[in-house]
Symmetry: C2
């Protein structure tokens, strides 16, 4: 267990926004609750904050231990005393995304107008909408200047922060991300959503208190996990090894270790995630396209006043290095200050959660 938090457990905090949030879809949401955690202390000027932005299925619990937990938050190896996001110097914040299922208002929250869960009556959200909610949280916390950092979908949110709030964002750290999903990315999301929507328990999203669409959600997660690992990583981890047997059983149960791994990932995921949230958040990712919205990537980035650090991983085929390079090229064309690092890693997209030593080194230099 991480000694830093041995005596001091982390608790998730909740803030209900008094501001109505106008959404890209044309609807609006009131009384949004935001679940968030903070690590370290905000200075008097309110300018030492780092907003850490989570990926598709992440949550506000980025670091430290909740009471009774055996595992720390999802980016604990990056956030803490002396770490990449050094809590001795910085006030680190992480909030659950709008549409999520980990404390922030989402489809599994109660719609006060009906007294029931929103389900599919929840308005469709965009990455831009989620950032608006984060901005309201940051304002409520009296933060005046901010550094934003995120991997994968978290990186998309960081991009959006940098161009929507240029007066706030000093530095932006983009990890294993892209300025838009590719056709292949959208295709994987479409199949994952299709699996959820086709589940016999989906019931048009109204499954709360009943059997939930666990099989569909597990399939969505299995597809996700294939894309998070590189082919090499999968080979190194599993190759064609059999699962607890020396010869084939000749049936449709688990024969190979990789099948067991995927089934396990699917199973543990359905215990912690809401299928409707998966629909909404993956859809928000599909929609994100700052070049389309602003005419070009250069136009988009011309709005920012931030310095940038862009990190990608050699074997990431979900958000490949070429997409990070595209961001870097556009930033350079608009005269922005940008550092770029491609980390050689066999871990695929998951590298942003695993390769913390290389990331720590470069992030520390960037934050000086």
């Amino acid at each position: 267990m991480n000694t830093e938090y041995e005596e001091k457990y982390i608790e998730t905090k909740y803030l209900t926004l008094d501001k109505k949030i106008e959404l890209d879809c044309g609807k609006s949401l009131e009384n949004i609750t935001v679940a968030y955690e903070t690590y370290g202390n905000l200075n008097e000027k309110g300018d030492n904050a780092i907003l850490v932005l989570h990926a598709l299925t992440g949550d506000a619990h980025a670091a430290g231990y909740h009471k009774g937990d055996k595992k720390p938050g999802w980016w604990d190896n990056m956030i803490g005393s002396g770490k990449a996001f050094d809590t001795d110097k910085y006030f680190v914040i992480c909030s659950n995304i709008l549409g999520g299922c980990k404390g922030t208002t989402g489809p599994c929250s109660i719609n006060s107008q009906t007294g029931k869960e929103w389900a599919l009556d929840f308005p469709i959200i965009t990455i831009e909408d989620t950032v608006k909610v984060q901005k309201a949280l940051i304002d409520a916390l009296n933060i005046k200047k901010i550094i934003v950092a995120g991997g994968s979908m978290g990186g998309m949110q960081a991009i959006e922060w940098s161009i929507s709030y240029p007066e706030y964002v000093k530095k932006t750290i983009l990890i294993a991300t892209a300025p838009r999903l590719s056709a292949q990315n959208i295709a994987f999301n479409a199949v994952a959503r299709n699996a959820i929507l086709s589940d016999k328990n989906f019931n048009n999203g109204n499954y709360y208190g009943k059997e939930s669409p666990e099989k569909g959600l597990a399939i969505a997660r299995m597809i996700g996990h294939i894309t998070y690992l590189s082919e090499d990583a999968m080979h190194n981890k599993f190759a064609r090894k059999l699962q607890n047997k020396s010869k084939l059983d000749f049936d449709f149960n688990v024969e190979f270790q990789v099948e067991s791994y995927l089934e396990h990932q699917g199973q543990i995921f359905v215990d912690r995630f809401d299928a409707n949230s998966y629909l909404y958040i993956s859809r928000a990712c599909d929609y994100f396209d700052i070049a389309q919205k602003n005419g070009s990537l250069e136009n988009a980035f011309s709005k920012t006043n931030s310095e940038f650090l862009v990190i990608c991983f050699s074997s990431d085929w979900l958000f490949p290095p070429s997409q990070s390079q595209e961001i870097v090229n556009a930033l350079m064309k608009t005269g922005k200050d940008v550092s770029f690092l491609q980390i050689e890693s066999p871990a695929g997209h998951d590298a942003f959660l695993l390769e913390f030593e290389a990331q720590t080194k470069v992030i520390k230099s960037f934050l000086i």
Copy 2:
């Protein structure tokens, strides 16, 4: 319409084997019916035959037109007068695989012992088993020497032919194939099968005459189609273009063209394919591993007396060029005669069905 077949329609023929086939799983099958088609004429010596082997969801109808059909067989641009597999010189045969749903005995066939469809009582099959059935067909047709050719799973069968029947196989053409599925390949198959097995209509495989597991099978197909196209091909074909609209609807229906494409592919597939066959044939692919079975790839290929032509495609990430290179290296180490061509193509795995000009050229040279 292809003039060659304007006046002469192709018909699928059927042969019921009088031989019992012993299967790798330990069970056996009797009275197997094989659906097959032939193009061109067998010579007197019975040595001008080419056995064309189909991929996962293919069938015996490789070339020409069935009466009333608007589209020809799946490899029509490769089989015919003057084509790569020249029916003026060769007697070309294609049969539906054991376990299939296009005329050859499979899980949707009637089990004579029960009078009902086999469903999941059908024995588990392997690539080796399917080749045994093909061998029985070839014997029944009085063929003495053979050339085998196949792409993807068809290539796996061609490999198996070359090492199991060295006295028969003169030449072997392997296209976009591999000596085994990778962990990532198995993972995709596992998710596809999971979608079928999870469908509310699956009913342990006993869905014949009732609603079939169409949604699960469509999801399996959608996953397949993502892997058949390269990321570049998907980008060139769809990018992020919207489907018949100029702005987003903000919902979970089809927004992007790539979503529409996948849904369409899923829909047309369920009309032509049986979900149980998908389970059996994809599992057979999982199991195929000649290196594991023979101790090494070199040991496996040391058994063959065939000449080889190995073709792969630069953007194929399902069966990437490195796997073809591995086959070539093993063949060279065992002193076999092997030609190798990597075709530069953006089409991904589908290239073996599309890049017929480049393939025709090299196959014609190889067959001289």
